[in-house]
Symmetry: C2
């Protein structure tokens, strides 16, 4: 039996990590961590109440793995404590993703990178994971040179607060009551907001640049160029991505579809268009609308959807832990 | 005073045409047309009840302009009657948009094309109008070679029925009742559906190919190549488009922004991100997020929003009529 700690256990991703461990029937003793505010409360795991603790050196002692679902600031604070405790840290924050000696891993794509870890492995950005799951099988046929991506991101990307805000806004609108917002920069109900993360000097947001910077590392393509526009839409928990991309050699639609269909974790959808609603609450990435890009002879276009809390965060982190156990 | 007929006066676009004529205070005698089912009913115009008629040779007699907001099939049926009546037909359907002797017009972009009409002028597709309004000022600096567009299209694009379907689904979900759909191929509330129009052999939909085919004609760029993905989102009446594009010569972000700001009908938004909610119920196209495309040295990217029923349809048609009157 392994001993697994979950940091941020009361958040949307933390709760999902706990659920993934239970549903995959991993032989694990689970320890839950959260802020002072939640310490002492309990969460159910395999029928038992697990008491939530605060993150201290003592409370981390003896753990084999720590799954992190906390902010960058807290992740930086906890990293040395986890190292000292001797646990492997699988971190969902973006704090260490681009550090040279920190593997950035989607197990189906570059699981072997996880084996070179130095105590910490980073879980990639949610939209990046889902997009790379769709593109990786094609990149294995011929390297991808450029990607054009526009995202349709669920409110769950902003955690429990994002889910609550959409819910509350919809309730208010139905009752003809005034709508307020605090999590998102404007009303998200019946709206689209092309602003996720904070702005960089080049006009892109931090979230948008993750697709290029993390994509390069996951696909082992250091020269990959990505133009990304990240957009929040009024969807609860699955992200969708419209992507076109250019490969070095010509890849046919048939080759691309066959590669996607054969790729572990992907579902090629041909009889209808993949939708965020149908991909919610499960771990697979649905890929459809594979067709030639009309602007470049070596270009292809596709549409993909995946659950943001699961494959975009929690279940990918749990899969990294399982990969380490198996290899 | 001009005599103006509106075909499909009871639909979302037809009603908006009537509203536009009234709010612009055009000196017009208005005649309303719809199906047998609506004939005899009335709509308000400048405080008076206007009785709805069916489309017959007699009822069309004496009209100067006919604004069409009906299906392709009905538009084809009515065209010879309108020609016989001697009226200029401004048609919102896609039936004649690509015919050689039918101008396809966005007045701010290619208004002069309207003057060469042979009795009929076509109003472009809604997403195409809004995207071209954002790109035209840049195309005037240097011709655009390629466009990558992903749309975020409102339910109003499917008419009154689309608006009703989203409303009914949201009401049902809030009350925990079962959700049904008939207008869209799946539930649109809290979902995204990357399927608008019908599929062509190349894997694109009819709606997606309009961006290339109509864009070429509006911008006078017969070699323009466009990869478009059209996506329905749970937004009521404004379309948004994430577009990146490559110009023949290098255009700086500053040049592009200045051109957009100076272009009639466009608003350059710098202090926040344009949103479909704020662009609803008005005629301007809001453009923001102008930045370099990261995959091509001559590429730029932007985000734009505009009201689908107004600038995307009704008010563009009314503007074509006004352009003809003034020139």
């Amino acid at each position: 039996m392994i001993k697994v700690g979950i940091l941020g256990a009361t958040g949307a991703v933390g709760r999902q990590m706990l659920e993934c461990i239970e549903e995959r029937n991993i032989d694990a003793e689970v320890h839950l961590f959260a802020s002072e505010r939640s310490a002492g409360k309990t969460l159910k795991y395999k029928g038992n109440d697990i008491v939530i603790k605060t993150v201290t050196k003592e409370n981390l002692a003896g753990l084999d793995y720590v799954l992190g679902a906390v902010s960058n600031a807290l992740s930086k604070e906890y990293r040395p404590l986890i190292k000292e405790a001797g646990a492997v840290y699988i971190d969902n924050s973006s704090a260490f993703r681009l550090e040279d000696d920190v593997p950035l891993v989607v197990p189906e794509i570059n699981g072997e990178d996880a084996l070179k870890h130095n105590g910490i492995i980073a879980n990639p950005n949610c939209s990046t994971i889902i997009t790379m799951m769709a593109l990786a099988p094609i990149a294995k046929i011929s390297p991808i040179k450029t990607i054009q991506a526009s995202t349709y991101q669920a409110v769950s990307g902003a955690g429990v607060g994002g889910l609550r805000e959409l819910n509350e806004q919809v309730s208010a609108i139905v009752k003809n009551e005034p709508v307020s917002h605090s999590v998102f920069p404007a009303q998200i109900a019946f709206n689209c907001i092309a602003e996720i993360g904070s702005y960089l000097d080049n006009g892109y947001t931090t979230e948008e640049m993750k697709m290029q910077n993390e994509g390069r590392k996951i696909l082992h393509l250091p020269d990959l160029k990505v133009t990304c526009t990240c957009v929040r839409v009024p969807v609860y928990r699955s992200h969708s991505i419209s992507a076109s991309f250019v490969t070095e050699e010509h890849v046919s639609v048939e080759q691309a579809e066959a590669a996607i269909a054969a790729f572990e974790g992907d579902v090629l959808v041909k009889d209808h268009v993949p939708q965020p609603l149908e991909t919610s609450n499960q771990d697979l990435v649905y890929v459809g609308r594979v067709r030639r890009d009309l602007t470049d002879d070596n270009g292809l276009a596709l549409w993909c959807c995946g659950d943001q809390i699961r494959k975009g965060a929690a279940s990918n982190a749990v899969s990294i832990m399982e990969y380490l156990q198996k290899h």
